[in-house]
């Protein structure tokens, strides 16, 4: 039977110890500032890279297919001297620039040997061989320097544009040629928000739609992992200092675990509430400025995020506490806890996919995965609440509750075992042996 008085004593100590740390205050007030500063830095880097003059990439072309005009066009693009040719290639050039923010020049070579020699001499970044059967098959062989890295698709696209222009030139009317090269120009883009509001889809709207939920999902993730690791660290310190014997002489392992979960969880909740509260407050204070650009504070996802934080914290925290206690010091505790951290972080690998389609099958699968449900649900719900039904928000919470029920039992048993293993190294075999000896 758990004695509430003991649990409360542990809870109070754990909570006060955590919130009195300088690191906690830095986390509460510093983390949003750090994230904002990071975002601003990234934007600045982007702006600076856009404004700078991009390096010109030079590629060779060996035209065994005899594509009309390629040799001269390529030569002139490369040399950049003939005004009429430059003009005729302006569209191609602009397309490339628009898509890749880089320019490419193509230099004709009479044969493969001379192109290869030029590549070896590092005069060009690579070269393309248009095979004799190119017109019927489209076959092209590419050669590139090792330093080209992973950007080979960019010069290929540029060459593709160039070839398209040359192949169609003269065969179709000029106006049709221009339209074929640039079939559409989106002059204005509008976004219909889930609340029915129609806003222009500019950079601010993009931030509102993607960046804000992303930042909150990451904050939630950091809070859960950070709070969980505080549990592991605290228990490791108690084992190292032998405080654990004093604790166990006063309270049961279950009472200690409950107190730790509540105390550290309370501190974590305070942190998350502070972060979300700051966001909410900012949203209220700057509502007039943010609303026209489509940034509004989504209270629903904020509340969902807090509820999910609590549920996930108890689920993950009990597992982290149990397995973390098996280590004889913090480092070993971390190693034991690594599995749970990896499972929680796993969906981060698919973040790009979630941003493209927040309601993809993958996103839906991870919504029900208890380790990641908190931030995936919050992220999806924030990005597009209309795409999530009520059961898809509440259902994973029930799954989490069930998993928490199981994990608390497993965690308590592991914690009890871990605390008794003080002084000895817990291998998986030793853990199993001890579990049999101490049922």
């Amino acid at each position: 039977m758990i004695r509430r008085r003991k649990v409360w004593a542990v809870t109070a100590f754990e909570f006060l110890s955590e919130v009195r740390k300088v690191g906690f205050l830095v986390g509460v007030f510093g983390m949003p500032i750090i994230l904002l500063a990071y975002g601003a830095l990234m934007a600045l880097v982007g702006i600076l890279s856009e404004s700078g003059t991009p390096r010109k990439h030079s590629y060779g072309v060996v035209n065994q297919a005899g594509v009309a005009g390629l040799d001269s066009a390529a030569e002139r693009v490369g040399a950049g001297t003939a005004a009429e040719m430059a003009g005729s290639l302006e569209m191609t050039d602009r397309n490339i620039q628009l898509r890749f923010s880089e320019k490419f020049t193509f230099r004709p070579f009479p044969d493969e040997q001379s192109a290869m020699a030029s590549l070896k001499a590092k005069e060009i970044d690579g070269w393309y061989l248009l095979l004799p059967d190119y017109m019927s098959t489209g076959n092209v062989v590419s050669y590139a320097a090792e330093s080209e890295g992973l950007t080979r698709k960019e010069p290929e696209s540029a060459l593709r544009e160039l070839l398209r222009r040359l192949l169609l030139q003269g065969a179709v009317p000029a106006e049709l040629l221009r339209r074929a090269e640039e079939p559409l120009t989106v002059s204005k883009s509008w976004l219909l928000k889930s609340n029915g509001e129609l806003i222009e889809r500019g950079m601010a709207a993009m931030i509102a739609q993607f960046a804000v939920p992303l930042v909150f999902a990451i904050l939630l993730f950091i809070a859960i992992i950070g709070t969980g690791m505080s549990l592991v660290q605290g228990t490791a310190i108690e084992k190292e200092n032998r405080v654990v014997d004093v604790l166990l002489s006063s309270a049961t392992a279950d009472e200690i675990m409950a107190g730790k979960l509540l105390g550290q969880g309370g501190a974590g909740l305070l942190q998350v509430s502070a972060w979300f509260g700051m966001a909410g407050l900012s949203g209220i204070l700057f509502a007039a400025q943010l609303a026209p650009v489509g940034i509004t504070i989504a209270w629903g996802p904020l509340i969902v995020g807090i509820v999910y934080f609590i549920a996930t914290y108890f689920f993950l925290g009990s597992l982290l506490l149990g397995t973390g206690a098996l280590g004889s010091n913090f480092k070993e505790g971390q190693q034991w806890s690594l599995l749970w951290i990896l499972l929680t972080a796993l969906p981060m690998a698919f973040l790009a996919s979630f941003i493209r389609d927040p309601h993809s099958t993958l996103a839906k699968v991870f919504t029900w995965f208890p380790f990641s449900a908190s931030w995936v649900v919050t992220f999806r719900f924030w990005m597009d609440p209309s795409g999530m039904s009520a059961w898809e928000v509440a259902g994973p919470l029930l799954v989490l509750a069930l998993c928490t029920w199981i994990s608390v039992r497993i965690g308590a048993r592991l914690l009890r075992l871990g605390l008794l293993l003080t002084g000895s190294r817990a291998t998986p075999a030793e853990v199993l042996r001890q579990m049999r000896l101490n049922p």
């Binding site: 310190i237 006063s250 309270a251």
Partner: protein
């Protein structure tokens, strides 16, 4: 009244036998020495008494009842390796330990101040534990164990790291507990202190109880039959004496033959019209008892 009772306690860890049928009692108000070499099974016995681990078989009773976790509010424990949160403030740690033992937060804070004053360290209340010297840390730990005034207290090596002044302080604290009828179980390797402060002892070695009784009884059982006598006139030849060594002008150390009791020898001396100034039976020091038991094990 018996405060602690161990009956036929067995505990093993896999193939390793930690305790094999240990049985003894601890009387209320006693200062009890739990003795034995390293790895003898003392810590296992202490952990069983604290209900941290359970024995494989046997019964433990505390305060006349079967042991439960609820008894632990009346039990204090000082671990051998110091159990303090090194990055916390002294007052915060003591208050926490107090509340864990059932004190209210306010009461725990008040007692913390009183006890820090008592051990001569009132200024460290707001210090972080890692700022304390080893001796200070030891005293704080002892205060944190005793300040809840537990009916039973287990002190594992309470004197280690203390200078003579602080050894005296701790001995005084233990003596005061005794005066108030509170029981203290002491585990230490400092046998001279056992002689000074303990009423009874149990000696455990390799999981077995090798000795149990009052300090006097145990020392007698392991002592050679020797007496020291101080006389006012020359000492004549006496029957039942195997050797005699002159230790001073009038003082002799006498070894007795088998079967001769010290009281019998005293009668014989008096019968020779020798005025006896001082007569004492010599007991083996506890350190010798310790060594005899450890060396004598099979």
């Amino acid at each position: 009244m018996t405060v602690v009772s161990f009956f036929d306690i067995h505990k093993s860890y896999g193939e390793t036998i930690a305790l094999a049928g240990v049985t003894f009692d601890v009387r209320e108000g006693d200062v009890f020495g739990l003795l034995g070499p390293n790895g003898a099974g003392k810590t296992t016995l202490i952990r069983i008494l604290l209900d941290i681990i359970r024995p494989n078989s046997g019964q433990v009773s505390l305060f006349g009842e079967a042991l439960t976790k609820d008894h632990m509010d009346r039990v204090g424990y000082l671990p051998e390796e110091r159990g303090l949160y090194v990055k916390q403030k002294v007052s915060a740690v003591m208050t926490y330990f107090g509340t864990l033992k059932g004190l209210s937060r306010r009461e725990a804070k008040e007692r913390t101040a009183q006890w820090l004053e008592r051990i001569g360290l009132p200024e460290v209340a707001e210090w972080r534990v890692n700022r304390l010297s080893k001796g200070m840390s030891q005293k704080v730990q002892i205060a944190a164990t005793l300040f809840t005034e537990p009916r039973l207290c287990l002190l594992d090596e309470p004197f280690s790291g203390l200078d003579p002044v602080n050894v005296r302080l701790v001995k005084d604290l233990i003596a005061e507990r005794k005066r108030r009828g509170l029981t203290t179980i002491l585990s230490t390797h400092q046998m001279n202190l056992v002689e000074e402060v303990c009423d009874s002892v149990a000696f455990i070695d390799r999981g077995l109880l090798r000795e149990h009784g009052t300090v006097q009884e145990v020392r007698q059982r392991h002592s050679q039959p020797e007496v020291r006598v101080t006389v006012q006139s020359p000492l004549p030849e006496l029957r039942g004496v195997t050797s005699r060594i002159k230790e001073g002008e009038k003082t002799w150390r006498i070894s007795l033959a088998d079967g001769v009791a010290p009281s019998e020898l005293l009668k014989r001396i008096v019968a020779e019209d020798v005025a006896v100034e001082r007569f004492e039976t010599l007991l083996a020091p506890m350190e010798d008892v310790f060594l005899r038991i450890v060396k004598g094990r099979g």
